[in-house]
């Protein structure tokens, strides 16, 4: 086999040269070893890699055992070759050419993969430095920064609903229901929550001081400057700490000379004794008075606790008619109002009538008069007997026979009319005598004033009872319900053993406590034997359980000012900026007793107007 081999070599200048040599061999051995007919450098080429043969004009290549060649990119162990085929062997490419005359085979080869610079190849396989692609400072900075802006700014801004990430903290429990609606309070950009935003709901929130004092720094302050939201569910927005109040109230007199309030900075250590709203004249509003041992009230009513609570009374009414003697509980008369703050006013019909019946004629079935103006009572009694006459229903044996035997419906003759008038008057007189003379009726509780009634007859002295003694505070009986009444009102619960019945001491009695205003004058157990006694406890009684706001860890209740004194007082009118000021009815200053109650005089007409119809026990 004659074969022409052409090597194409590239000079360093880049110029290609052809080097021809001719061989006459049985077969052309190709490999890395120097003993090959065609020896090619490169460790990827086997020592004896392949053999090229030619027989009958057909050229073929055959790889040695375990080796392969790539013919025109196809990897094979051996195959026939055609002119133009390219055989890839290591870094070399062998190309089969059309043989020239006198040759069986023509082969051209060239090193097509340049013998790489080892260092360059090493550098290509070497990757040093941890910052690559996104994982390098600059791209990562942009990515993280933009991600934060997108997730926590752009998306909430565009889609609103995701604004929970902007919520700096849970809102207080009272506002929790609008927590997801930011716009409920934050009505505009970059202007904060304005007072009008708060007052859209809290429209009747009151001023702190009367408008006349013009305390703009309080009444026109931003709500949000004191009531800080978003600090947790259980934060009390109204609790600003006593320090807030004492900023002004510790030396209020110096700041506000016209004030009548006394300085206070801490309930436990710096709080004046209570001033009480005391009735000194039942026809006039109560007066706010300092408490002295001599202070008494003058209500116009004769009443004492000892006879009602401290001594056993007939249980006829109390126990449902059993008649056994027993002690009256405080709650028999003193019942908290629906709000639990104060006691309901004492009313004859509700609290007295069961025992003190206003019956006036034992001869007829039990008949009661209404309680109230004696002139009205007289007119009612007179009317009642007159009806009997007209109805021909006079059964009184002392009545004139002509009245007793009258036919119902007939017209009274002048004579009969005169008889009737006298008889009715005698009955009215008899009824009045019962009321004024018999124990347990009018004169027991009321001072009689002959000739002072509106009809010129017997009248009673005016009466006014106090229910709100400390109007400046929001004391709540309901929140003190676990304690016996006598814990704070000891003089009302003095026990006077009943020798007749030998009843056991009631559980609520507390004979050795010192009551307010009755400081153990004679070394005896104090008690209330007069209606003039004031049984409202002193601040010392409160301090047995209540400490100043700053006290922590003690057994007493830390008591901030706001526990008893509301900052916003509706009676002073609504805060400026309230939509209520636009003329809605709720803007009218509201003097309900749960704000600052007005004097009892304002309530007296309501009590007097209450009408309880005459009733007959059937």
């Amino acid at each position: 086999m004659r074969i022409r081999i052409v090597e194409i070599r590239t000079r360093t200048s880049g110029k290609k040269v052809r080097l021809e040599r001719d061989l006459d061999v049985e077969a052309l051995h190709v490999g890395r070893g120097p003993d090959n007919d065609l020896s090619l450098r490169g460790l990827t080429i086997s020592l004896r890699h392949a053999t090229i043969r030619s027989s009958d004009g057909r050229v073929s290549i055959e790889a040695a055992a375990g080796q392969t060649v790539a013919i025109n990119g196809r990897v094979t162990a051996g195959d026939r070759l055609a002119v133009g085929d390219r055989i890839k062997l290591g870094a070399f490419e062998l190309r089969l050419l059309e043989p020239v005359r006198g040759f069986d085979v023509a082969l051209e080869y060239e090193e097509i993969e340049r013998g790489d610079d080892e260092r360059r190849a090493l550098d290509l396989r070497t990757k040093i430095g941890i910052e690559h692609g996104i994982f390098s400072r600059r791209p990562l900075s942009w990515a993280l920064g933009l991600a934060v802006l997108a997730v926590f700014f752009a998306i909430p801004l565009l889609f609103g609903g995701a604004q929970s990430s902007w919520n700096s903290g849970d809102v207080s429990r009272g506002h929790a229901y609008i927590e997801s609606d930011c716009g409920a309070c934050h009505t505009g950009f970059f202007r904060g929550v304005r007072n009008a935003d708060c007052m859209a709901c809290h429209h009747d929130i009151g001023r702190h001081a009367p408008p006349a004092l013009a305390m703009a720094e309080l009444d026109e302050a931003a709500c949000a400057s004191c009531h800080l939201e978003h600090r947790g569910r259980d934060i009390d927005l109204a609790d600003l700490g006593s320090g807030f109040c004492s900023e002004c109230h510790a030396d209020l007199a110096a700041r506000l000379p016209e004030t009548t309030l006394r300085d206070a900075s801490d309930f436990g250590t710096d709080h004046p004794a209570f001033k009480l709203s005391v009735i000194k004249d039942p026809t006039r509003p109560a007066e706010s008075l300092d408490v002295t041992p001599e202070l008494v009230e003058e209500t116009g009513l004769v009443f004492d606790h000892l006879h009602h609570v401290g001594r056993a009374v007939s249980g006829r009414a109390v126990s449902g008619g059993s008649g056994e003697k027993q002690y009256l509980q405080c709650g028999a008369c003193h019942q908290p109002d629906a709000g639990g703050l104060y006691m309901k006013p004492i009313e004859f019909e509700r609290h007295c009538q069961d025992c003190h019946r206003l019956d006036f004629d034992p001869a007829v079935p039990p008949t009661f008069t209404p309680h109230g103006d004696p002139a009205v009572v007289r007119a009612r009694i007179r009317g009642l007997y007159s009806e009997r006459v007209l109805a021909g229903d006079v059964k009184d044996p002392a009545a004139p026979p002509r009245l007793r035997l009258r036919r119902p419906g007939s017209v009274l003759t002048p004579e009969e009319a005169e008889l009737s008038r006298r008889w009715v008057q005698s009955k009215v007189d008899a009824a009045e005598r019962r009321f004024y003379d018999r124990p347990g009726t009018c004169a027991t509780c009321h001072a009689l004033r002959p000739g002072e009634a509106s009809d010129g007859g017997m009248g009673v002295a005016p009466v006014q009872l106090q229910t709100v003694w400390v109007p400046g505070s929001t004391f709540s009986h309901a929140s003190h319900a676990p304690f016996a009444c006598v814990k704070c009102h000891p003089a009302a619960g003095v026990f006077d053993p009943d020798p007749e019945t030998a009843l056991a001491r009631p559980g609520w009695s507390q004979p050795d406590a010192i009551p307010y205003g009755l400081i153990d004058r004679d070394g005896r157990t104090p008690t209330s034997e007069r209606s003039a006694d004031i049984l409202i406890p002193s601040i010392e009684t409160c301090r047995e359980c209540h400490a100043g706001a700053g006290e922590r860890g003690g057994e007493r209740v830390p008591s901030p000012c706001s526990m008893c004194h509301p900052f916003h007082v509706r009676a002073h009118g609504p805060m400026p900026g309230s939509p209520a000021l636009d003329g809605s009815p709720s803007g009218v200053p509201d003097a309900t007793p749960d704000a600052v109650p007005d004097g009892p005089a304002d309530r007296a007409p309501a009590q007097a107007a209450r009408f309880v119809p005459l009733r007959s026990a059937s």
Partner: protein
Amino acid sequence: MIGPRSFLEYARYRYLKVSLVLLLASMAIYLVEDPPGGRSGSSWTGYGLGTLAALMIVWLMWLGLRKRSYRDVGAPLQGWTSAHVYLGTSLLLLVPLHCAFEFGVNVHTLAYALMCGVIATGIVGVGVYALVPTSITRNRNNTTLDALLERIAEIDADCRVAAENLPDLHAKAVITSIEETRIGGSLTAQLAGRDPACGTTRALRSLRGSEIDLQGDARLQELKLIELVARKELLVNQIRRDVRLKGLLDLWLVLHVPLAFATVAALLVHVFVVFWYH
């Protein structure tokens, strides 16, 4: 390279003292003020400390930028680094004082959390700067990375020559050693400091385990090849240790800087939301 002791102790701990004074003053103001409604980020103290902290963050980032530019450095580089480290760390307490220790699941606390990440990576950075440079110097042993790579390239070339007339097993081992030896690579590969599948190690194992009984020149040639590949393995592992140490030196910074930018982004949202909804 700045020695860590030098910048931590700079000017007799001047910036440590500055930071401590700043923190003590902030704590005093925080404890003294008892605003209505209790302490919070929106009290005057809260606004004041928040503004201070925000300005410090911006300034510290500028410092970070500043201390990398070696030209035109107004103050000594150590001073900038010292201030950066101490004032930055003080934010860890300054910011909780600003918000009166109120945290929640929201963008405001996210800003603080990201800032904590920045500070934590920064503290790691200080530790890394204290330990790693010495190790790098010791590992390099008075040479450079480039020189080491150059020597490996030379060995590779020598191996090709040495294996030229040796059996295919040897040729294949050399090819493996050259082409399948990777230095560095992925983050984990760089930080690992070694490669269990290293081509050089496999080539060495294959050569040493060869059962081909060579004689004469071929045997000498084989021994020379084994020595070359063994030397290459030592060099490759030396470079891998170097890569690992440099990776450690850079890793904290790759987290530190992007976290700082994320902190600023969260801070911007925080400030916007706070003033929008103040």
